[in-house]
Assembly symmetry: C2
Homo-oligomer: 319 residues x 2
């Protein structure tokens, strides 16, 4: 039996989760603490390092851990720095890779959360054995991890795969946080889904969604209403799938993927989203790709996925 392990770290704006993971993608143990608990990034890295060493020791895994993988927003794969992260309490850039390596004596690889998700799918999930695929994460924003020839497409400056900021082929002049308009994430993020719902609710006062207070409206509740038969709520996901399917059709012409894997909160809507997405993909895609791209949702347990994805980077650190 292979007794090697990696540490995965999922660093979010609220909590930092870290865990010990084996070759099969099983989480042996995991713990967490509030990300903003320390006054400086250096103190955070020091605490994280100490906590990781304690976890390794408690699991009797000393000398069996080959590396640490960290998934964090705006993490640069090449520099190991967190750049321009707006939801962390310390100034950027943060050289977390170096700090954590110094604190633990272990090699550290870092990547942004969407790329970590893609590596996780390749290592343990729906993309096992695939060499060309795209993971699209539908969460607060829309992110993506693109794998070509078995490698994450990092690009020149580690900004490869910002597909959430490709302009959608639907034009409603929706403003995006980046300052531009109609970015894919203004339609397909959790927030984009809510925006679509509000537009449709204005035309359909009979929808049960109209019984909710405005601030209560979430993509999760919209999915529940759709599953309960609400036509307006169904239409929200039909529209979202249509927009995402057309975008995916054009993404196929870029990288000729074997699969496009949809991940994150909005993807929990399942077939409500996937059926119109696949239909739109087939209708809009160049004939060369039609019938050759599997569109599916993640196979990773969502609660574990961020940690597993990050941990998969740890195996790269080994080399």
């Amino acid at each position: 039996m292979d007794k090697k392990f990696v540490i995965g770290v999922d660093m979010g704006g609220t909590n930092t989760v870290y865990g010990l993971v084996n070759r099969r993608g099983e989480i042996i143990a995991h713990r967490s603490f509030p990300t903003a608990s320390e006054p400086t990034a250096e103190a955070f890295a020091s605490r994280l390092g100490e906590n990781i060493k304690a976890l390794i020791s408690d699991c009797n895994a000393d000398d069996a851990v080959v590396g640490i993988g960290v998934g964090a927003p705006c993490a640069n794969y090449f520099t190991g720095e967190i750049e321009a992260a707006t939801d962390l309490p310390w100034p950027s850039p943060i050289p977390l890779g170096r700090l954590l390596s110094e604190a633990t004596g272990l090699p550290v690889k870092m990547s942004n959360d969407a790329n970590a998700a893609a590596i996780g799918e390749m290592s343990y999930g729906a993309a096992r054995g695939l060499r060309d695929f795209i993971v699209i994460t539908l969460g607060t924003g829309v992110g993506s991890g693109i794998v070509c020839n078995g490698q994450i497409l990092n690009g020149n400056r580690s900004f490869g795969g910002e597909l959430g900021h490709v302009k959608a082929w639907t034009v409603e002049d929706r403003p995006c946080g980046c300052g531009r308009k109609d970015c894919l994430q203004t339609y397909c993020s959790a927030k984009g889904v809510v925006t679509t719902a509000r537009k449709l609710m204005a035309k359909h006062p009979e929808s049960r969604l109209c019984l909710l207070k405005e601030e209560q409206l979430t993509s999760k509740l919209i999915a529940e209403a759709a599953n309960a038969g609400d036509e307006t709520a169904k239409e929200v996901f039909r529209f979202t799938g249509e927009v995402l399917g057309e975008a995916c059709a054009h993404f196929a012409a870029f990288s000729d993927p074997e699969a496009i894997i949809i991940f994150g909160g909005v993807s929990r809507a399942g077939e409500l989203l996937l059926a119109p997405l696949r239909e739109s993909f087939d209708r809009n895609v160049l004939h060369l790709y039609r019938g050759h791209v599997t569109i599916c949702t993640s196979e990773l347990n969502e609660a574990d996925a961020a940690l597993l994805g990050a941990s998969a980077l740890g195996w790269e650190a080994e080399i």
Copy 2:
């Protein structure tokens, strides 16, 4: 001095050009014959093989040639077959890689012409030393070769980089040969440029372009008129650059390239095209990429580029 050589083959619908190329990208000798001169693909491959052997012998390069690289429309990198080529006189698929290897005893690598152009730029041209870039070829159609992490993005089935069939972010309902509408090549190919000119000429009878017979109108003549100061002709390239620049802005979000290299007949318009292209790129691109992507034209002599690009594949065959 390194005495190794490769053979490059540029197989077009009309002529097949083949030549002996050294490590520095110098064409030692080249010859050609009409592609449609043989009744079957097998006979063509046999003749090409004999011709290549004669060229090698005449150059006293026996035992110094390490491989053959072939650039051909619809060539599949993985299978070495030409698939669904509409402008060749024989039925597809054509297993040219295998046939040519049997005829010459040399390893053969094949790729489509746009990918060959990208490899040529990386080996001998504007992309020397770059690991992440995109070549966009503006010819009869619009093709592309995408290089990520120093490798051609072939994708799952060798159909990576069909950027000419990504839908433009300009919508005029222009029909494309693929059966869809508004593909980038309906705007930015030589034919797309002529279509744009016709539309503008209808509004500007004072343009000198209106003195040409309809069938005489070419992107080359439009560029000449623009260089001579014709405002309508200038507007044709301004519009083309605008459309291509916006597309390139979104392509950047896919692969975070260091450079986008414009190649092929329409690119001969030079700054007429490049100035509005760069302006549109900067205006439409996500802030992460602004100022970090060089947009330029090919540094390869256009007459030699197809042969050189194909020959560069020959070095891969060596391994």
